[in-house]
């Protein structure tokens, strides 16, 4: 974490994923303000995170499709301490991470934003927002859904 060769800029930068042939469409989608998840062309089931085959039926015929970005909170935590992640998250403490059940089916871990911690509740409806956390990285976060 604090290797001597690391610059202050690297130290205080957001934790970066490794962009691979498998997950590149997801990260590219975020830059276009689209939340993409995988759908199986054979059985029609969705899945998240990125895999090389359908975890439901085993087919390798997968496509990236746009999620509605809507869902509800299955569970959540309020992070009070940074452990094993970038020190940059110290600037966010305390903050909520939710396990969001997307309307399409899969669950996704994501930070809650644009709300009070007291708004973060199990079963609360939420919607995605896109946050540019670095010049080359956009992360999906969620906020309470606007009433319809």
């Amino acid at each position: 974490m604090s290797a001597s060769s690391e610059t202050a800029e690297q130290y205080w930068s957001w934790t970066k994923p490794e962009i691979t042939s498998l997950n590149k469409p997801f990260w590219d989608g975020l830059k276009r303000r689209e939340l993409l998840i995988q759908r199986c062309k054979k059985c029609g089931e969705h899945q998240w995170y990125a895999r090389a085959n359908c975890i439901h039926c085993g087919s390798r015929e997968l496509e990236w499709v746009k999620s509605s970005g809507k869902g509800k909170i299955y569970s959540y935590t309020i992070i009070n301490m940074v452990v094993g992640n970038s020190p940059i998250f110290n600037k966010e403490l305390p903050y909520a991470v939710a396990l969001v059940e997307l309307d399409e089916g899969p669950r996704m871990y994501a930070m809650m934003t644009d709300c009070y911690l007291s708004d973060v509740k199990i079963d609360a409806p939420v919607e995605v927002v896109f946050k540019d956390v670095a010049s080359d990285l956009t992360i999906p976060m969620f906020r309470p859904a606007k009433s319809q």
Binding site: H46, I55, Y74, I78, I79, V82, G84, F89, R107, L137
Partner: protein, 399 residues
């Protein structure tokens, strides 16, 4: 497989956190492995050369991180085994070594196995080194999303258990406080000072609802056990501890793959297989040693093991004396919550403690007249579920 293989020796080093300024040793994993082997050999009355032509079991380490680790371990120890098995199931690694080596012995390939799990995550040089990388799905899909490793993953599970069943922190607190009491009677335990319920409840928040005293304490240490065929075991010791049954379930999702109920572990599938092989009911157990990276993990496994219905774990621990003197002694060594989690080796302490109890060598914390012990192991935190690897083992004094 029932009673075909027995544990005939064990070793467990003291646990430390490499706090040199407090007079603690700062040792390498290699030193702990050697130390654990020595203790196990002495315990069994065997010598290192007895394992030439036998089996060696090796688990990975958080530090150092070497993928081709068995080659180092076998050279360092100076053994010439007939076969090596290597486990990479995180906290369930020691249990996996045990079940794999039991299968190899039962197949007649060898008649003894020496299994060693030693780790020194606290001896990492802070400036230049890092531990074993975590899972790719954690690096790519959890850490950039604000997650904080196991503490945060277990927070979701604990929150959900509280939400669905009304489980309270007083329930998990009883587990923490009782295990600390057990650790106070365990000479190798790292945390021995008594803990009160108030101290538990007011310990600092890490990832709400997970507080500091819900978490295991990371330590350096080494553990080992020796397995032998039933026939060989009788030549080695007059106190063999038989493996009566085991069951395993990996990547279990209760309900659906996309939306599993995270309050069920794969233990719920592994336990019936273990009981069937052993010919027991959970209530036959004299004690249980339950893999305890977090307090809620113990409570959930008491349910999955069948001691109470799903969701009634809180009420069960409230109404049951889980101390060594009680109806169902749980984690009689203090577990990883108080004795310590020696990196990947943490799950071996439950196996060693079960053997120690069944041989009635547990000193002050000895369970009275034990006959059957149940041991669990869980490892590998999954994305959006709970633990990937789940193993249940049943040990007994007599076949």
């Amino acid at each position: 497989m029932r009673g075909k293989v027995a544990v005939v020796g064990y070793g467990e080093t003291p646990y430390d956190r490499a706090r040199v300024e407090r007079g603690q040793p700062r040792l390498t994993a290699e030193e702990y492995a050697s130390w654990a082997m020595d203790l196990a050999l002495k315990n069994a009355g065997l010598s290192k050369s007895d394992f030439d032509g036998q089996g060696l079991g090796v688990a990975g380490t958080i530090y150092p991180h070497a993928e081709i680790w068995s080659a180092e371990v076998v050279q360092n120890l100076g053994i010439t085994p007939k076969m090596i098995i290597r486990a990479d199931q995180g906290g369930a690694s020691a249990a996996s070594l045990l079940t794999q080596s039991a299968l190899a012995i039962n197949a007649g390939i060898v008649d003894m196995f020496l299994c060693i799990v030693a780790d020194a995550p606290l001896s990492m040089p802070t400036a230049s080194a890092s531990g074993a990388r975590t899972w790719r799905y954690e690096n790519d899909y959890m850490l950039p999303f604000g997650m904080m490793g196991p503490n945060s993953i277990f927070a979701f599970i604990m929150r959900r258990h509280m939400h669905q069943y009304g489980t309270k922190r007083e329930h998990t607190g009883k587990i923490a406080v009782t295990q600390r009491y057990h650790a106070s009677m365990n000479p190798v335990a790292y945390l021995k000072a008594p803990m009160t319920m108030d101290e538990y409840l007011s310990s600092r928040v890490i990832a709400d609802p997970i507080h500091l005293l819900d978490c295991c304490i990371s330590v350096n240490g080494g553990l080992a056990f020796i397995l032998a065929s039933k026939e060989k075991a009788k030549q080695i010791t007059d106190k063999p501890v038989y493996l009566m049954g085991f069951g395993e379930c990996d990547n279990y999702m209760h309900g659906s793959k996309n939306r599993p109920d995270v309050t069920y572990l794969g233990i719920v599938k592994a336990a019936p297989d273990a009981y069937q092989m052993a010919g027991i009911k959970p209530q036959d157990a004299s004690f249980v040693e339950i893999y305890d990276d977090y307090t809620i993990a113990v409570l959930m496994q008491l349910e999955d093991l069948g001691f109470c219905k799903k969701g009634e774990g809180g009420k069960f621990v409230e109404q049951t004396d889980i101390s060594v003197n009680g109806q169902l002694p749980v984690n009689t060594h203090g577990g990883q919550l108080s004795a310590g989690q020696a990196g990947i080796g943490g799950g071996c302490s439950h196996i060693v403690e079960a053997v120690r109890q069944l041989r009635e060598e547990a000193g002050q914390r000895q369970v009275k007249d034990p006959k059957i012990g149940i041991v669990t192991a869980i490892g590998g935190l999954a994305y959006g579920v709970n633990l990937v690897h789940n193993i249940v083992m049943v040990f007994g004094k007599e076949v």
